[in-house]
Amino acid sequence: MFNISYFAPAKLSEALEYLYEHKEAKVLAGGTDLIAKWKKIGHPDMELLDIRNIENFAEISEGKDGLFIGAGAKMAAVQYNSAVNEKFPILAWAASVVGSVQVRNLATIGGNICNAAPSADTVTPLIVYGAEAVIVSKKGERRCLVKDFFTGPGKTVLQSGELLKGFVLPYPEKGSKAAFSKHGRRIGMDLATVGVAVNACVDGGKIKDVKVALGAVGPTPIYVTGLEKFAGAMANEAAAEEIAALAEKQAKPITDVRGTEEYRKDMVYENVRKCLKKAFA
């Protein structure tokens, strides 16, 4: 116990080689989940691959097919980045409500997703913006929609030897508007009791496309399915209520210190309805 081997390469190729050679190695980004957990479970031995020094890992850049956000971008960087604020405002908002100033100066967006907590704040915006995770390994690169990234609590599609490199967020369509809510017991420094993100594209008062994602109400973040049928429907209160009811049905919350199952279901309905109202406005 208590022994840590630590490697912090500057080159991606070195990191991937290390991950390939050390099957048990853990990736260390900001450490706000990893180190906190390591302490709680009694400081077991670890092989750590610190990715913060890898060149371009914290980059945020506007590409042709969308905005690229490096896995190593800190919450504080996401929160204040002008392109994120302008084009993906609810992602900036979600980043701004993660933990505290100190946490946001350490925590990365990649760590938030890879930790795969159902309550992770930046996940629901990434899902409704249609973000793709860019995954790298020695064998090459692959992509996976963030909505398909989670396989269980704390579990993701990442295989041994793989690293999350970042996200590509396709630029939002004209006429689309997103809304976000983090429903919790208090405003600061708490995990969400219910998290909601919606993104709706409305054209001439009619829904072209609508996406809804839910946090903290199931073993993984939830992408609400079956919303295609709303294409062409009027973007009004009635549609918002119908979609909210569908979301409530698909939520699978548990009862814990933050709220009961019933309460969470109610809050899913309320918050989805409210968010859609904003997005339709």
Partner: protein, 159 residues
């Protein structure tokens, strides 16, 4: 037990120390460098007592491994005052009576310094937002609020 050499600058002074790879930055500051101003409360990022500036940004030093501080510049509460004068935020905490047991104070002051860097004339909302990673069990926060206001005024030359 693995040991690594750590090169970093603390309060303007360069250090080269051997650290165990499982030590946190808070441990090294306190136990290796004897900088006992930085407190450890919860040890899990919740209370902010261990807040220091790392490359100019506040972090909870209980969640940072010492090896991660390689090449960085750290400022602790001991590094704020100049030779003959307290930092305006420190002075304001004293003048406003924002200190009771004092355990949260070093971390609170570091967060207040960072807060005033970002918002020299903060709104109530911004003060709350900037300090929500620092818990205080004594003061009820009101005096801390007043201290931040006072420091802000003095730093802007208004008081």
């Amino acid at each position: 037990m693995e040991v690594k050499e750590l090169n970093f600058v603390v309060n303007g002074k360069p250090y080269k120390v051997d650290v165990r790879t499982n030590w946190t930055l808070a441990q090294v500051l306190r136990e290796k460098l004897g900088l006992l101003g930085t407190k450890v409360g919860c040890g899990e990022g919740e209370c902010g007592a261990c807040t220091v500036l790392m490359n100019g940004e506040t972090v909870t030093s209980c969640l940072v491994l010492a090896v991660q501080a390689e090449g960085s510049e750290i400022t602790t509460i001991e590094g704020l005052a100049s030779a003959d004068k307290l930092h305006p935020v420190q002075q304001a905490f004293i003048d406003a009576g924002a200190i009771q047991c004092g355990y949260c104070t070093p971390g609170m002051v570091m967060s207040a310094v960072a807060l005033l860097n970002r918002y020299p004339d903060p709104t109530d909302e911004q003060i709350r937002y900037g300090l929500n990673g620092n818990l205080c069990r004594c003061t009820g926060y009101q005096k801390i609020f007043e201290a931040v206001r006072l420091a802000s005024k003095r730093m802007r030359g208004e008081a």
